[in-house]
Amino acid sequence: MNSFLLGTILFSIGGIASIFFNEKIKPFIFLIFAVLAQFFLLPQSFGVLTNGGMIQLQLNFSEPIGSAFIRLDPLSAFFVSIISLGGILASIYSVGYMKMYKGESAALSSYYFFLGLMISAMLLVVTFQNAILFLIAWEIMSIASFFLVTFENEKEEVRKAGIYYFIAMQIGAAFLIAAFSWTSALSGSLDFASFGAVLTHSNSTSILLFVLFFIGFGTKAGFVPMHTWLPLAHPAAPTGVSALMSGVMIKTGIYGILRIILIVGVPDYRLAYGVLLLSVITGIFGVLNAIAQHDLKKLLAYHSIENIGIIGMGIGLGMLGLVYNLNAIAMLGFLGALLHVFNHFVFKSILFYGAGVVYSQTHTRNIDKLGGLIKSMPSTAIMFLVASLAICGMPLLNGFISEFAIYLGIAKSFSVNNLALNIAALLGISGLAFIGTMALLCFTKVFGICFLGSPRKEFNHVLTDKDFSFQLPMSFLTALIFVIGLFPLYAVLLLSKVISQFLPSNFIFDFYNLIPLFNTLTYAFIVLAGLMGFFWLIRSLLLRGRQVKEFKTWDCGYQVTSSRIQYTSGSFAQPFLHLVRELVPQKIKIVKEWALFPKEAHMESHSQDFSDRLLIQPAINFLNKFMNMFSWIQSGKMQQYIIYGLLFLLFLLIWIFGAS
């Protein structure tokens, strides 16, 4: 356990140490500490993941905290390994990416300081098992990430996004503080282990407490309608941080929800259905909005919301399995959710890193200004493609495995003789399929517009992605995509101890049924890959020695005059967005002048976030109005303030004399 704490502290020490070095060495100092931390963190967490059991350390504080536990059980160990992997990848990536900010030494110091602090705080969040310590770590994590989001704070939009993020986090934290203090008041202890006595009952208090916890953690994770900070904060942050936030930090919300479920044991059936329903809505809502985006990083942020929805569907399914005592379904649900947590970390990091490479070279995040990048940065493009295929759940890749587990769990619940469960299953299976195909639409759009076709804008400098700090993290993650995709059994076995925490001990029988299943998947994928190779070989053999001419794209006899005539992301998504115009309202502005011949025209479209428009904005407006009613107090006149002071003294006098 001490080595875990040492590993955790190392990230922060790295951040502090890098302050004292000059700009060029900073990233490497941080990197050294991040690498060192792996030696302490990974063996320990893998040990717990493979052997099960629990490592714990008791810390004795004075009141009010009292004695507190740091525990590393399989669930925590799983998240610890994601966080430490995410941490080191982010520190490698930052070496190249932060070159953009040459000469801003002070800003870079703060970047590495807060990066280290955030990673350390995340590691503590998933291991602290005491309400107060947990909340302290949680707040440090939020505040450190706030400073990272506002790294480019000279920009107005970044400052706005940062403050929005900060407020959203504090609202979420308020729910958590309420939930934690209420629970510990009822249980009489701050230790999580004692919470079970309060939360396991199926009465209205424990349900209300679960809802409070869910809102608090769900704000971090990005469940609809608490998600509105994600599409603002992710694009504002430097890309290494966006990847860390999207791949790792929002998962601490998922961790919180899973931890509460673990404490609750068998949840109330209403909560299980509620989580499933909200997750389907979250998934569909996230991807619908992603399709409408033109900003690459904003689009990816909405996809994080979508994937949180998929993870939530797995959790909801697992809860339903627990409610109805269906081990096979509960197992598949939690397996899908946990594996998707890891998978999403893998491919979303690649996608953000890829977007960052594009941004560092072209200095634009607008998809419609890009195009043909596969020619100038082929390896980034191919890895981006693999990640896109994986996020759409295509076979051979890791995304398929976790979605498959959820699909199978849902399909199995059709055979259960329970009307409500069957209808929930229909909702789940069609929702997941709908999310999947919309993701396909969105990623064919992103990849097709950014990387394929011909460039929509000329750049004066050479675009290149040849930098070890770009290539190394991305190729490592791409390899992981294939490893998990082709050999899912090992990933499943590695997660078995985590899953066993959620299930009654007689689930082992169902678990052994999975082994032949995932073995068959491996064989099936080998057949599929073999077929692909076979036909590629035939094609190459057929074309050998034959004439393969290169020519212009055949445009039905019409010679292309400009690369701007290509389809754009707006036009690509238009038919679909027209179908769902009620759900994703778009503001479209067209400026067109007609003389004898058409003149220059202009068109722009903006999508509006449903919940931002219907929920957040009205709330802000109401608050503004309400607070304005008291604005007369702050008149700005000195005389008035002196009167306030006198009134206050008078009040004190009355109070003191009145009391005596």
């Binding site: 398929f400 069957n422 229909l426 069609s430 998947l521 290169e550 020519f551 998504a573």
Partner: protein
């Protein structure tokens, strides 16, 4: 052994079925029409040719036909036939089936984007738009079948399907019509798409493959035809019981497949292509039918709503 024969037969058959569609259309129009084997001649002619590749394109454009053909052939291995069952089977295999088809679609779409042509972008955009509806409806069909039989693998679903009776007839009719709509859409046939012309702005699939030539085009034509066979096999599975002897089962399957493709030809002769804005409404029929089927099963199986 039987499995190998059946798979080999299915692998060589797709163009024959395309030939049937063309012949039906010709006969209906009062022409004599070309031989049903004409698509084979076209295929071998293309296989023997060289290629012209657009300068704009990248490796994505070149690997797509091979991946497509592999993915759809793989889907064929998962679909059971009433004669010999499926080659690859495991719980949840239908998910892999649907996602293999989706993989082919993903690659086709980005290959179209790879050419940088606005025509192909248009086709690509429409293809993915319609597929959002069709895939969702397909999973409702699968959900209905899983609900009806309590099974989670294609083969066992269809085996169990044949011993239940009564209201299942109605369910089967609804699902057959749903799958027929899927066949028309995925096979890019009238009234969604028209395989004969590719220069009009209303095209979907044909316009996406404008830039292909030679062996690559042959691969793509084959993949499309094979995809239709795969989906029509699902229709045959719904109709034919799984407990028949080899030869009768083979005969009836062949008859059903031919009947399905004759119907496709008849639909093409009788119905005009829909306006692009009406296509989603047409595909939503599939969603509605499959939901109705689901509701009927719930009503009879679980005793009410």
């Amino acid at each position: 052994m039987q499995k190998i024969i059946i798979i080999m037969l299915l692998i060589v058959s797709p163009f024959f079925f395309v030939g049937i569609i063309n012949r039906v259309k010709a006969v209906w129009a009062g022409r004599k029409g070309s031989s049903v084997f004409q698509p084979y001649y076209d295929f071998f002619k293309l296989i023997r040719k060289g290629e012209v590749i657009s300068r704009t394109t990248s490796i994505v454009f070149q690997i797509t036909p091979s991946i497509n053909i592999a993915a759809i052939l793989f889907a064929l291995l998962i679909v059971p036939t009433p004669v010999s069952g499926s080659v690859i089977k495991f719980p949840g295999d239908f998910v892999l089936f649907a996602y293999s088809l989706a993989l082919a679609k993903f690659m086709t779409v980005i290959a179209a984007m790879d050419t940088g042509s606005s025509f192909e972008g248009m086709g690509a955009s429409r293809e993915v738009t319609f597929s959002t509806i069709i895939e969702t409806a397909f999973f409702i069909v699968l959900g209905s079948l899983a609900l009806l039989t309590g099974q989670v693998s294609f083969e066992t679903i269809f085996v169990m399907l044949n011993i239940s009776a009564g209201y299942t007839v109605l369910v089967k009719v609804l699902l057959v019509i749903s799958l027929f709509i899927m066949l028309l859409t995925e096979g890019s046939r009238v009234p969604v798409d028209d395989p004969n012309t590719h220069l009009e702005l209303t095209m979907i699939h044909e316009v996406m493959i404008l830039d292909y030539s030679g062996p690559d085009l042959a691969f793509i034509l084959y993949s499309t035809a094979l995809k239709m066979v795969v989906i029509s096999l699902l229709i045959a599975d719904l109709i034919i019981p799984f407990n028949m002897l080899f030869l009768p089962a083979l005969g009836i399957t062949a008859v059903i497949l031919i009947a399905v493709f004759i119907s496709v030809g008849l639909v093409e002769s009788l119905i005009a292509r829909l306006r692009m804005s009406h296509v989603p409404q047409f595909i939503f029929i599939m969603t509605a039918l499959s939901l109705t089927a689901f509701a009927i099963i719930i009503f009879f199986l679980r005793g009410g709503f």
